[in-house]
C-alpha cells in the first residue's frame, strides 16, 4: 500500500525515501515535488500540497461547499465510524477526503476537486460524492473546466450502499458537463481504485496519470486471491494502462501544471500557446488561394504508377512531421478507452494559425524501424476507435477536426478482424457524417480505401499533388482482375488514383501543389502550403452553423452516384488488399 513519508517542512530535515531508503535532504525532497531525486519514486501528496503545486503561484480559493459525512448505518468495526471520521479530520485538517477550489492554471480559470488519500484512504463516501457533484455544478454554472485529482481505495464501506450510489451521482454530474461542452480533466494519482476508478476518475474528457500511478476496478490482491490469476509486476500502472488505451498521457509531476495548461488553453480556446501561437498569420488574408488548385486542367498529367510511387516515398513528411511544422503546440492524446492505443493513428489538440483544432492522422515513418513501430500506418480497430473518441471530444468542445490521411489501408490481420475492423470503420463513417463542427481532410500521401475513408468524411477533402486515393491498392486490383500482381501500373491507371483524376471526379475539392521534388524534398515548404490551405478552408467554413456543417457534409457524400459509393467502398473490405 502507499507509504507516506514524514517530513519536516520548515527546517532542513531529512526524508527517508520509501523506495530506495536513501536519506534525502528535506528541502531537496520538497523542491523535487516529493519525488525521490535518487530513485524517481513518487510519494503521495496531500490535497493542499497537490493544489499548491498545480495552480498558478500556489494560490487558490477554497469553494464554500457544504457536505459532511453522517453515519447512516450506525456502522461499527473495531471503532465506531464517527470516531474514525473525527480522527481523520484531526489528523488531516480536512473535513473530507476531497478538497474543492477555484484557481487558474497557466492563466485559465478552473474548478478543482482534489482527493486526499490520508483521509480514510480517499474513500468515496456520501460527502465525497456530494462535494465532487457540487464542484461539477459550480463548473457547469460558470462553464469553467473541471479538474479532478483522484486518490482513493474505492467506496467507503462504512456508508454501505449509499456510498455505491455516489458513483452514479457523480457520473450524472459529469454527463451534464458533457452536454454543456465543459472540458473535464482527470489526473490519476497512486492509487485510484474501485468506485472512484469506475466513475468520475475515468469519465473525464482527458485522463492524465502520474508515472507509476495505479488505477483499476479490482485491486491486485483481490484478483490474485479470488481467481488466482498471475499478474505482471507493472499490472494496472499508468504505463500498463497507457498501452491499453485507458489513459491519455503520463505526465511527470514537474510538468503537470504546464501540460494541464496546454490542454486547458486548447480546450477552451483561451489563448494561443506562448511564444509562437500566431506565428504565421502572414498568409492569412488570401490564405489557401495561392496554394490550392481547384481546376484539374491546371494540374500536370503524371503517369499514375509514378504517382503511386511518389505517394509512398519514405522521404515524405509524416503526420507527426506536419504536426511539428504546420501546426503549433501539438498535445497528443492516446488510447481508445476500450482496448488499446494504436500506434498507426495519432491525434490530439494543436493550434493552426492561432486557432485550436483537433488533429488526427495515420502515422507511417521514414525508416524500417519507424514503419514497423507504426505498423506501416495500417490502423487497428483501436486506431479508428481512438479517432472516434477524439472526434467526439472535438464535437463536445466545438473544435474543428483536421484529419491527415496517409495509409495503405486498414490493417488486414486476423486480430483486426477479431476486434471488429469493419464495425470500427463503419461507425467512424457514421460518426463523421453527424459531427456539427468543421471537418477537413488532407490526403498527405496514400489514401488506401476504407482505411483512409474512415478518417475522411469531411466537409472538404484536399490532397497533395502526389497523393493517391483509391478503393483498392493497384497491386490488389491487379491480382484480382489481371491475376497478375505485375500489372499494378496498369491497374493504377485504370483506377485513376492520381490527384488530377480525384479532382476531376470531385472526390477531392482542391489540390495543394507540392514543392519541386515532392514534399520530402522540402518539408518546410510543404508544411507551409498545408497550413495555408487548411487555414483557408477553415475560414471558408467559419460562418456555417453546426447543422449547416453537418448538412453540407452529408450532401457532399450524397452526390457520389456512379463513381464510388460508400457501399462499394465497404464491400471491398472483404477482398484481399495485396
Amino acid at each position: 500500500m502507499t507509504q507516506t513519508v514524514d517530513r519536516i517542512v520548515d527546517e532542513p530535515g531529512w526524508v527517508l525515501c520509501p523506495g530506495c531508503t536513501t536519506p534525502v535532504y528535506g528541502k531537496r525532497w520538497l523542491r523535487n515535488l516529493s519525488v525521490c531525486p535518487e530513485c524517481g519514486r513518487y510519494t503521495a501528496l496531500t490535497a493542499v500540497e497537490r493544489l499548491t503545486q498545480l495552480v498558478d503561484d500556489g494560490r487558490y480559493e477554497r469553494l464554500d461547499l457544504v457536505a459532511r459525512s453522517e453515519d447512516p448505518l450506525q456502522f461499527v468495526d473495531t471503532v465506531p465510524y464517527p470516531a474514525r471520521l473525527a480522527e481523520a479530520r484531526a489528523r488531516t485538517g480536512l473535513d473530507e477526503a476531497v478538497l474543492c477550489a477555484r484557481a487558474t492554471v497557466e492563466g485559465v480559470p478552473v474548478v478543482l476537486a482534489v482527493m486526499d488519500f490520508r483521509f480514510l484512504g480517499g474513500s468515496l463516501g456520501s460527502a465525497v460524492g456530494e462535494l465532487i457533484t457540487l464542484a461539477a455544478e459550480v463548473a457547469l454554472a460558470g462553464r469553467t473546466p473541471l479538474v479532478i485529482v483522484s486518490a482513493s481505495g474505492g467506496a467507503r464501506m462504512q456508508e454501505g450502499v449509499l456510498s455505491l450510489m455516489q458513483m452514479a451521482k457523480t457520473a450524472a454530474a459529469l454527463a451534464q458537463l458533457d452536454e454543456a461542452g465543459v472540458l473535464t480533466v482527470s489526473l490519476i494519482t497512486d492509487p485510484t481504485f474501485g468506485g472512484v476508478a469506475a466513475s468520475f476518475a475515468t469519465l473525464c474528457d482527458v485522463i492524465l496519470a502520474e508515472p507509476g500511478a495505479r488505477l483499476g476496478f479490482a485491486g491486485r490482491r483481490v484478483i490474485e486471491q479470488t481467481i488466482r490469476q498471475q499478474l505482471p509486476a507493472e499490472f494496472q500502472t499508468a504505463e500498463f494502462l497507457l498501452d491499453r488505451g485507458v489513459v491519455d498521457r503520463i505526465v511527470p509531476r514537474s510538468r503537470l501544471r504546464a501540460e494541464l495548461g496546454r490542454l486547458l488553453r486548447a480546450g477552451t480556446g483561451a489563448d494561443g500557446p506562448s511564444g509562437d501561437g500566431r506565428s504565421s498569420g502572414d498568409g492569412r488574408p488570401e490564405a489557401g488561394a495561392d496554394v490550392l488548385v481547384r481546376d484539374p486542367g491546371r494540374l500536370p498529367e503524371v503517369d499514375p504508377w509514378e504517382q503511386v510511387r511518389r505517394a509512398r516515398d519514405l522521404a515524405r513528411p509524416t503526420t507527426l512531421d506536419y504536426l511539428a511544422t504546420a501546426f503549433v503546440d501539438f498535445q497528443e492524446l492516446h488510447g481508445d478507452r476500450i482496448s488499446g492505443d494504436c500506434p498507426s493513428v495519432v491525434g490530439g489538440t494543436a493550434w493552426l494559425d492561432g486557432r485550436p483544432v483537433l488533429v488526427i492522422g495515420q502515422q507511417k515513418g521514414h525508416t524500417a524501424a519507424e514503419l514497423s513501430q507504426r505498423n506501416f500506418g495500417m490502423p487497428m480497430p483501436s486506431g479508428y476507435r481512438k479517432a472516434a473518441r477524439l472526434m467526439r471530444l472535438a464535437e463536445k468542445l466545438r473544435l474543428p477536426v483536421v484529419t491527415l490521411v496517409d495509409t495503405p489501408g486498414a490493417y488486414p490481420g486476423a486480430d483486426a478482424e477479431e476486434q471488429g475492423q469493419a464495425v470500427a470503420i463503419a461507425e467512424n463513417l457514421r460518426l463523421m457524417a453527424s459531427l456539427t463542427v468543421p471537418v477537413i481532410t488532407m490526403i498527405i500521401g496514400e489514401g488506401g480505401s476504407g482505411g483512409a475513408l474512415a478518417l475522411a468524411v469531411a466537409n472538404r477533402v484536399l490532397a497533395f499533388t502526389s497523393a493517391v486515393y483509391s478503393v483498392i491498392s493497384p497491386e490488389g486490383c491487379a491480382a484480382i482482375l489481371w491475376k497478375d500482381p505485375t500489372a499494378a501500373p496498369r491497374a493504377a491507371a485504370a483506377l485513376r488514383v492520381g490527384s488530377r483524376d480525384l479532382l476531376r471526379l470531385g472526390v477531392v475539392d482542391g489540390v495543394v501543389v507540392e514543392p519541386d521534388g515532392g514534399t520530402g524534398a522540402d518539408p518546410l515548404t510543404a508544411a507551409d502550403a498545408l497550413r495555408r490551405a487548411l487555414a483557408g478552408i477553415l475560414d471558408e467554413l467559419r460562418d456555417l452553423t453546426g447543422p449547416q456543417l453537418r448538412a453540407d457534409r452529408r450532401a457532399r457524400f450524397r452526390q457520389y452516384g456512379s463513381a464510388l459509393t460508400v457501399e462499394s467502398e465497404l464491400r471491398t473490405m472483404s477482398q484481399p488488399r495485396r
Binding site: 527546517e11 532542513p12 531529512w14 536513501t22 536519506p23 535532504y25 528541502k27 531537496r28 535518487e38 506562448s274 511564444g275 509562437d276 501561437g277 506565428s279 513528411p317 507527426l320 512531421d321 511539428a324 511544422t325 521514414h366 518539408p523 518546410l524 508544411a527
Partner: protein
C-alpha cells in the same frame, strides 16, 4: 583554525587536501567507499570512516552518511574537493545547520551561481560580458528578435541535438526565419523533439578561466588566468598559465571583471570564473565554479600560493593576508591530466590493476597522484590517474620539460591503457607549440588521424 577536517572526496584531491592539512597541523578524516578502503588518502589520513558501497550515490554523494561521519569523528569542517558534493547548495546548507563548516562559498551563493540563469543575470549586472543567447527554447518570433539583438552569426541548436547534427549557423537576419523553421523540422524528424535555442556563434574560441580568492570580509583578489583550451567533449586535458597569445591587458581586464563578479555575489573562498575568448579577443562569461579546480596546481606553480591552505584559512574566518600586489606570477606552468583511458577506443576508461607505476621527477616537476604499483583503478569513479605539472621560465622550456616528464612516465598493467602518448602528441603538436589552438584542437587532431585510417 580547524582542529579536524573531514575530506569528502577520494583520489588525488583527497590526498592533496590531506597534505595541506598535515602541514598546518590539522587532523584529517578520510571517508571512503568499500572500494577505496586501501586508497592512498585513507592510508595517509589520521582517521578513516567507511561510508558506503562503491556506487557514488551511496557513498561520496550520500550527504547524510558524510554528515554522520563528521559528527562521529568530531570534524569541525568538511573539505569537499571537486566533483561529488562540492557544489551542492543543499549539502552546504545541511552542513551549516549541523554547525559544520563546508569549505566553499556560503550555500545561498552556491545556489545562485549553480543556476545558469541566475548566475548569468548576476554577472551581467556586475558588468561581465555574456555570450548572448537564449537559455530556453524560444518560439520563432522571439528567437528572431533575439538573433537580431545578438548580431550575426548566430547558431540555432536543437535541444536534443549533439555531435554537429541538428544545428545551423545563420549569418543574416533575412535567412533566420527559414533557418529556424528548417532546424526545427530537421530536429523533429531526427530526434522527435523540435525544440531549438539560439546562441551567438563563435567560430573558434579559447577557454580561459580566472582563479579568485575571497575572504568573508569583502576582500577579493585574483591569481591570474589558466588556459584550458585543450579539451575533448568539454573534458579538460591540458591546462597552462599564463594563457599564451593573449592581447596585452586582456588577462588583467578579465581578472578585474572576475573580482568584480565575485564581490557582487558575495563570494567567499577559492573560485573560478570561466570565460570564452573569441578570435577578436572579446571575452564572454560562462560560469563560476564554486570549488577547487583540478588544474589549480598550475596557478600554485607560478604564484607560489598554496590554494588549498588559503581555502582553509578563509573558511576558518581569517582575513586574506595576500593583496593583489602580492600576486606576481612568474614563468609558465603546464598541467597534463594522465587518465586511465584508451584514446584509440574513444577514450573508454580502462580500470584494473596497475603493475608498473613510475612517475616523473626532477627539477620543477610536480606529480599529484593517488596511484601506486599494485593499485587497482576502480571502475566506479573518474579515470584520472595523475596530474603532471611542470614549471619553466618560458613556454618553450615548459613544453620541453613536459615532454621529458611524459617520457619518464611509465604506467602499465594487464589491461591498462593511459592517455600519455596522446598527451605527448598534443603537447608536441605545432599548433599547440605555436599556441594557435582553440577548443577544437583535439577534434581536429582526431579528424586528421581518421582520414588516412579510413582508406
Amino acid at each position: 583554525m580547524f582542529r579536524t577536517i573531514l575530506i569528502a572526496n577520494r583520489g588525488e584531491i583527497a590526498l592533496r587536501v590531506a597534505r595541506a592539512c598535515r602541514e598546518m597541523g590539522i587532523r584529517t578524516v578520510a571517508v571512503h567507499s568499500t572500494q577505496d578502503r586501501d586508497s592512498a588518502a585513507v592510508r595517509y589520513a589520521d582517521e578513516a570512516v567507511q561510508i558506503g558501497p562503491p556506487p557514488p550515490r551511496q557513498s561520496y554523494l550520500c550527504a547524510a552518511a558524510i554528515l554522520e561521519a563528521a559528527r562521529r569523528t568530531g570534524a569541525d569542517a568538511i573539505h569537499p574537493g571537486y566533483g561529488f558534493l562540492s557544489e551542492d547548495p543543499d549539502f552546504a546548507e545541511a552542513c551549516a545547520t549541523e554547525g559544520i563548516v563546508l569549505i566553499g562559498p556560503p550555500a545561498p551563493v552556491m545556489a545562485k551561481l549553480g543556476d545558469k540563469g541566475s548566475a548569468r543575470a548576476i554577472m551581467s549586472a556586475a558588468g561581465l560580458p555574456l555570450l548572448p543567447g537564449s537559455l530556453d527554447p524560444l518560439g520563432p518570433e522571439a528567437a528572431h528578435r533575439l538573433a537580431d539583438e545578438i548580431g550575426y552569426p548566430v547558431i540555432i541548436k536543437a535541444v536534443a541535438g549533439g555531435g554537429g547534427r541538428g544545428m545551423q549557423v545563420v549569418t543574416r537576419s533575412d535567412e533566420f526565419p527559414d533557418a529556424h523553421r528548417r532546424t526545427r523540422a530537421t530536429a523533429q524528424m531526427l530526434f522527435g523533439d523540435g525544440r531549438v535555442y539560439v546562441e551567438k556563434y563563435l567560430r573558434s574560441a579559447r577557454h580561459v578561466e580566472i582563479q579568485v580568492l575571497c575572504d568573508a570580509y569583502g576582500n577579493a583578489i585574483h591569481l591570474g588566468e589558466r588556459d584550458c583550451s585543450v579539451q575533448r567533449r568539454h573534458q579538460k586535458l591540458i591546462e597552462e598559465t599564463p594563457s599564451p597569445r593573449m592581447p596585452d591587458g586582456l588577462a588583467e581586464r578579465m581578472g578585474a571583471a572576475a573580482v568584480a563578479g565575485a564581490s557582487a555575489v558575495g563570494y567567499v573562498g577559492a573560485g573560478t570564473f570561466e570565460f570564452l575568448v573569441d578570435p577578436d579577443a572579446r571575452y564572454h562569461f560562462m560560469e563560476v565554479n564554486c570549488r577547487i579546480q583540478v588544474e589549480h596546481p598550475v596557478t600554485e606553480a607560478v604564484t607560489g600560493v598554496d590554494l588549498v591552505q588559503e581555502q582553509l584559512r578563509v573558511a576558518a574566518g581569517e582575513r586574506l593576508t595576500l593583496t593583489q600586489q602580492d600576486i606576481r606570477p612568474r614563468g609558465v606552468a603546464i598541467e597534463c591530466r594522465l587518465n586511465a583511458e584508451d584514446p584509440d577506443a574513444g577514450f573508454a576508461p580502462t580500470p584494473g590493476l596497475i603493475e608498473e607505476f613510475v612517475v616523473p621527477a626532477g627539477p620543477f616537476v610536480r606529480v599529484d597522484t593517488h596511484a601506486y604499483p599494485g593499485y587497482v583503478v576502480p571502475p566506479n569513479y573518474d579515470s584520472l590517474l595523475a596530474k603532471l605539472i611542470v614549471w619553466a621560465p618560458d613556454r618553450d622550456r615548459a613544453i620541453a620539460r613536459m615532454l621529458r616528464a611524459l617520457d619518464e612516465c611509465r604506467v602499465s598493467g594487464p589491461r591498462m591503457s593511459t592517455t600519455r602518448d596522446f598527451l605527448r602528441k598534443v603537447v608536441d603538436h605545432p599548433t599547440f607549440r605555436a599556441a594557435e589552438h582553440t577548443t577544437a584542437l583535439v577534434d581536429e587532431l582526431f579528424a586528421a588521424v581518421r582520414v588516412p585510417a579510413a582508406r
